[in-house]
Amino acid sequence: MPRINSEEVREIAALVRLRLDETEVERMTHELDGILGYIETVKNLSTDEILPMTHAVPFDCPMRPDEPGQSLTVDEALQNAPRRREGSFEVPRIVPGTPGTPGTGGA
């Protein structure tokens, strides 16, 4: 039985906001099934007494004074934005409104 089917791939792609065409979905389902088959080998190992390791090198997180520092200017922060308006990143309208007013329209 396959470990992952094309319906699950489509569902995850929707969750992570990633548009895939049908050829990609089919190819990926096949590839991911193979990869999952391999990585499942870790399931055979008993790890009941083992604590998860989230960090490679243990050390105390250093503290610093909580003081405002230098950061990007608004212009610097916006310089790479594909669309900007009035000191903000511009995106398609996300709340209902009158078409044709500022903020309306596509990308």
Binding site: R19, G34, T47, I50, A56, L72, A77, P82
Partner: protein
């Protein structure tokens, strides 16, 4: 007088600039000339900053002329993997989704190289978001191995390794998450170092898998790599995982010899599946280390067989999270038309990411889903600890481990790209050190009959960079492999 930069060591070039034997500008022109002649066939560079590097060289030469103080790498032309953000210079991480991105800030590692006086020739090709072992996943063009243009240079830092092998840069920086410095160093016959996790700051290094990403240097010689690491290592308040201890004295260690050292030979790294020429060369290198005064100690890393699965589970989970930021709003590619925000995200990401990031985003999300999390990701975190414990146990019996870097020499372009799993399995000798966070170095230890380089990997305990530099420096001093150069193919 301009020196012949082909095969030149970075340390020697820096000394010549400081002694006014030649000018930094002479070095720059020599490298730019080589890039113009050779890189059309190699594909190492994504961007050559001709004007910027000339200006930087002239500034160094002016300082030296008036006797002003300059850094230890003053005037030496280097290259940066295109994963290091560079202020004012396009940075893409090998991805179309970042095409046109001009960072407003500088990575700590590249900034420190500049502070040491090094000057950057430009940005080097890589697998998209550092995901790959062959550089075939670059969204722009592949890199060709200078030893055989039909073969891959390894990856993901393929441009960084090939540029040093072909003498297009005096040294380079790369990043290593599961082998992305050491494997291309092995396949291109140069020195590549993945330091201890946190030894070099990740600030300004475009994130792939944050708990595994390690910036590090490539050099023609062990001392060159040591000099670069000395310049970039050390605590950085901008990276909360940066190690507070000061950097070590790696150049000194590379000349200290290895008398009295215990070199562990893990039996799991010498098993079926290894190319016989690779095995013969690595075993001969172990004999050489013994003749140099090391004691060889058989050791075991019993969880090695789980390392690839564990590595891919963790790196895909982290990648799926790190790559969420590319949405067409703040920087990079944005789809031409979208009626809603949701469509803007999905179309931008569908158009901008290549196959490998898409695979890892989907699979990484799958293993983090409620219901699967404990069985996959949680399990991998526990096995990661078992793998790290293996290294701790081994280092109670020895000072350094010596292993092959890659089970095979460079393979042909296209040979493995159709099957992602086959590509992953070739990372068998490089994935465990980043999981444990311990430092490792690859250097050339021979060539196949057909003239392809073979790599020897030295692995040290956490913050044991000096130990691996001692072994690598002593091996290099007794052998000539590093002096062999690929033919210029223009």
């Amino acid at each position: 007088m301009a020196p012949d930069v082909r095969g030149a060591s970075l340390v020697a070039l820096a000394a010549g600039v400081a002694a006014k034997t030649w000018k930094s500008r002479d070095l720059v022109e020599a490298y730019l000339d080589r890039i113009a002649r050779l890189d059309r066939k190699l594909g190492c560079f994504l961007l050559v900053d001709r004007d910027g590097v000339r200006r930087a060289a002239d500034a160094v030469d002016k300082k030296i002329a008036v006797g002003a103080s300059v850094g230890p790498l003053a005037g030496v032309p280097i290259g940066l993997k295109d994963i290091f953000v560079t202020r004012g210079i396009e940075t893409t991480a090998g991805s179309k989704i970042l095409k046109g991105f001009i960072p407003p800030y500088e990575s700590t590692a590249s900034g420190r190289l500049a502070a040491a006086g090094a000057i950057s020739l430009g940005k080097l090709n890589m697998d998209e978001f550092a995901m790959g072992s062959s550089n075939e996943n670059s969204a722009f063009h592949p890199v060709h191995n200078p030893w055989d243009l039909e073969r891959v240079p390894g990856g993901s830092s393929g441009g960084s390794a090939a540029a040093v092998a072909a003498s297009l840069c005096a040294g380079t920086l790369g990043t290593d998450t599961g082998g992305s410095i050491r494997q291309p160093a092995s396949l291109c016959g140069v020195v590549g170092v993945k330091p201890t996790y946190g030894r070099v700051s990740r600030y300004g290094v475009i994130a792939f898998a944050s708990s595994l990403d390690h910036p590090g240097p490539f050099g023609r010689t062990v001392e060159d790599a040591a000099a670069l690491l000395e310049a970039i290592a050390g605590h950085d308040p901008m990276d909360s995982t940066s190690i507070p201890q000061p950097a070590g004295r790696y150049r000194e260690a590379s000349k200290a010899g290895l008398a009295g050292m215990r070199v562990g030979v893990p039996k799991e790294y010498f098993q079926a599946g290894m190319d016989p020429e690779v095995e013969a060369a690595v075993r001969a290198a172990l004999d050489e280390l013994a003749r140099a005064g090391a004691t060889l100690v058989p050791v075991s890393l019993p969880h090695t067989q789980y390392a690839i699965a564990t590595y891919y589970l963790i790196c895909m989970a982290e990648a799926s999270s790190n790559l969420a930021r590319y949405d067409g709003v703040r920087y990079g590619h944005r789809t031409a038309d979208a009626g809603s925000l949701e469509e803007l995200y999905a179309k931008t990401r569908g158009e901008g990411f290549g196959n490998e990031p898409k695979r890892r985003i989907i699979l990484g999300t799958y293993v983090l889903r409620a219901g699967y999390y404990e069985a996959y990701y949680g399990k991998a975190l526990r096995v990661r600890r078992l793998i790290a414990n293996d290294f701790t146990a081994a280092f109670s019996q020895c000072d350094v481990l010596a292993t092959p870097t890659s089970p095979t020499p460079a393979f042909k372009i296209g040979e493995r790209s159709a099957d992602p799993l086959q590509m992953y399995l070739a990372d068998i000798y490089t994935v465990a050190p980043p999981l444990a966070g311990v430092p490792a170095l690859s250097q050339c230890c021979g060539f196949t009959k057909s003239g392809l380089p073979i790599g020897l990997q030295s692995i040290g305990p956490a913050l044991g960079e000096e130990a691996i530099f001692r072994v690598a420096g002593a091996y290099e001093a007794r052998t000539d492999w590093h002096k062999r150069l690929p033919e210029d193919k223009s």
